[in-house]
């Protein structure tokens, strides 16, 4: 059968479409022009200035604190939830599944507003804990889904074997289930971490004066002072992403062989 060229052409165009903005950012990070307009000469000035901006580093610190704590909490809660959903087929689990699934599709703006109004109604100040709660809430669902998918291949005969050999529930959890499920739990945690670092909408509603996260800071910089600084910042972030993806690919390959 002779194949049509059309799908190939669309794929190439879509790839160009995907990489065009990335390319523009990297090129402009070396552009002397302040407004990222026409090319006015090569400079490394934006990178140098970036390292002098205390506020950016502070926002970065907040982002990391939230991402680490929210992914840790959602790893714990999500794994427990996935176990319950996998093992039991009761009415409670039907309700549980709906509860876990809905936050995945509801627009983030609704999650953000509802949490903001809850904290306003309760008279709670906007601090890092509030942000942590918001991020954990949307991360739980993602972790649960990832772990649930991994549980499909989980061999429960291992658990029964351990039971027959006289292991108690804690020993089984610690020495059989967790080691076997660790890759799934970490994959879920990694997803939660990435989503939390990237999150703008929820943080927009829940961050206060002292608790700016990096995406919020970036948005403020787009509007106010220096788009050129953001080009430099994004190029660095892009390099880190490429390195991490390359590293995880390499680790995967080594594990398989």
């Amino acid at each position: 059968m002779k194949r049509s060229r059309f799908p190939l052409v669309v794929t190439v165009l879509v790839m160009l479409f995907f990489y065009l903005p990335v390319l523009v950012l990297v090129v402009n990070s070396f552009n002397r022009s302040r407004s990222s307009g026409p090319w006015t000469g090569f400079t490394l000035d934006w990178y140098v200035r970036l390292f002098g901006r205390r506020d950016i580093w502070e926002a970065f610190g907040n982002t990391l604190i939230i991402a680490v704590s929210a992914s840790a909490a959602s790893m714990l809660l999500g794994t427990l939830a996935a176990f319950a959903l996998h093992r039991y087929r009761t009415r409670l689990q039907d309700a549980h599944y709906t509860m876990v699934y809905t936050p995945l599709v509801v627009p983030e703006i609704l999650l953000g507003i509802s949490l903001l109004l809850l904290f306003v109604a309760l008279g709670v100040e906007r601090n890092l804990t509030v942000l942590f709660i918001g991020h954990t809430t949307f991360c739980i669902s993602y972790v649960t889904m990832v772990v649930l998918a991994r549980l499909q291949d989980f061999d429960f005969a291992m658990v029964e074997a351990a039971q027959d050999l006289g292991a108690g529930p804690w020993t089984i959890a610690r020495r059989v289930i967790i080691p076997l499920l660790a890759p799934g739990i970490f994959a879920g945690g990694l997803l939660a971490f990435t989503l939390s670092i990237d999150d703008y909408v929820i943080s927009f509603f829940l961050s206060g004066p002292g608790t700016t996260t990096l995406p919020i800071k970036i948005n403020a910089m787009i509007r106010r002072d220096a788009p050129a600084l953001i080009n430099a910042l994004s190029s660095i972030m892009l390099c880190v992403t490429f390195l991490l993806v390359g590293l995880s690919q390499k680790l995967n390959k080594e594990n398989r062989t």
Binding site: F17, L110, I222, I230
Partner: protein, 286 residues
């Protein structure tokens, strides 16, 4: 003694379910109902929530601007969804027929730009579409647009950038189904006298309909609540429901009004969700 293991199992179930369930109950379900309740509270002059109950918000929601904004929110979201589907079907078809090596490579290539920050990706488009940017000069040079045309701050820019940010959400579910599609079916159809285009539309496209529905859900619903993209690359003439909600919340500080609009949005997103879920269940019943 005999009921003991059953009760024990039930206890384990509750122990496993409770932490996540209670968390989502407190921080997802309860706040959603709280929003509905707040829409019936009066607003205070200081931008807070007053005591007592009122139908003020319901009155304010009869604002003559709102039907237009609601209509725009709907058609812009639909346009984004349809564009994403139209692009992802041929790409998914191509990927599904690649060799295993190229599949992994191309999927990785698709994912990488989306691991960068969402805000930064939207910002990059602001640079590209800038009236003094190179895209505008190239298009003007080619005579496609008059020089100095504003490519930013309109509905077209909002659709373009939203398609960019949401395309992977359509592409991945469509690809996941297309990969399992049996291409021998298409050859069979062609042996039976279909031409290539007929085989594509009458065998391949229906074969991946499950993926298309998932993609619709994943693109349409978040876009009904879109706020960031129209805020950065859109203008006044392209605000969507999400932008109006944020304006009421932070500029006007009318919390009950914002809560009322959020409740409208909640109903709006529940409708497509119910349609897709019903459709799915009907397919499974067959």
């Amino acid at each position: 003694m005999k009921a003991d293991p059953v009760r024990r199992e039930r206890l384990v179930e509750v122990f496993l379910t409770a932490p996540g369930f209670v968390w989502l109950l407190l921080f997802f379900l309860l706040p959603t109902f709280n929003v509905l309740l707040i829409s019936f509270r009066p607003s205070t002059l200081t931008g807070g929530i007053g005591e007592g109950w009122t139908l003020d918000t319901l009155q304010q929601l009869r604002n003559p601007d709102y039907p237009g904004i609601l209509f725009r929110t709907l058609w812009v979201s639909l346009a984004i969804t349809v564009s994403c589907l139209l692009l992802s079907v041929p790409v998914a078809y191509f990927l599904a027929r690649c060799s295993q090596r190229w599949k992994t490579r191309l999927l990785l290539l698709i994912m990488i730009p989306f691991l960068t920050n969402f805000i930064i990706r939207v910002f990059a488009w602001k640079v590209i579409l800038h009236p003094e940017g190179w895209l505008a000069s190239v298009l003007a040079f080619a005579g496609l647009i008059p020089p100095g045309t504003q490519l930013l701050y309109n509905v077209r820019a909002v659709i373009l950038v939203s398609v960019y940010t949401y395309l992977p959400f359509a592409l991945l579910p469509v690809y996941a189904v297309a990969e399992k599609f049996d291409f021998a079916l298409m050859e069979a159809a062609m042996d039976l006298g279909c031409n290539r285009i007929q085989a594509f539309f009458r065998v391949f496209v229906p074969g991946i309909s499950r993926g298309l529905w998932t993609a619709t859900l994943l693109v349409l619903i978040p876009n009904l609540g879109a706020y960031v993209v129209p805020d950065i690359v859109g203008g006044h003439s392209s605000s969507m429901l999400g932008n109006v909600i944020v304006r009421r919340l932070f500029s006007d500080r009318n919390l009950p009004h914002a809560a009322g609009l959020s409740s409208v949005l909640t109903v709006l997103v529940l409708l497509p969700m119910i349609v897709v879920i019903l459709h799915r269940r009907r397919r499974e019943a067959h």
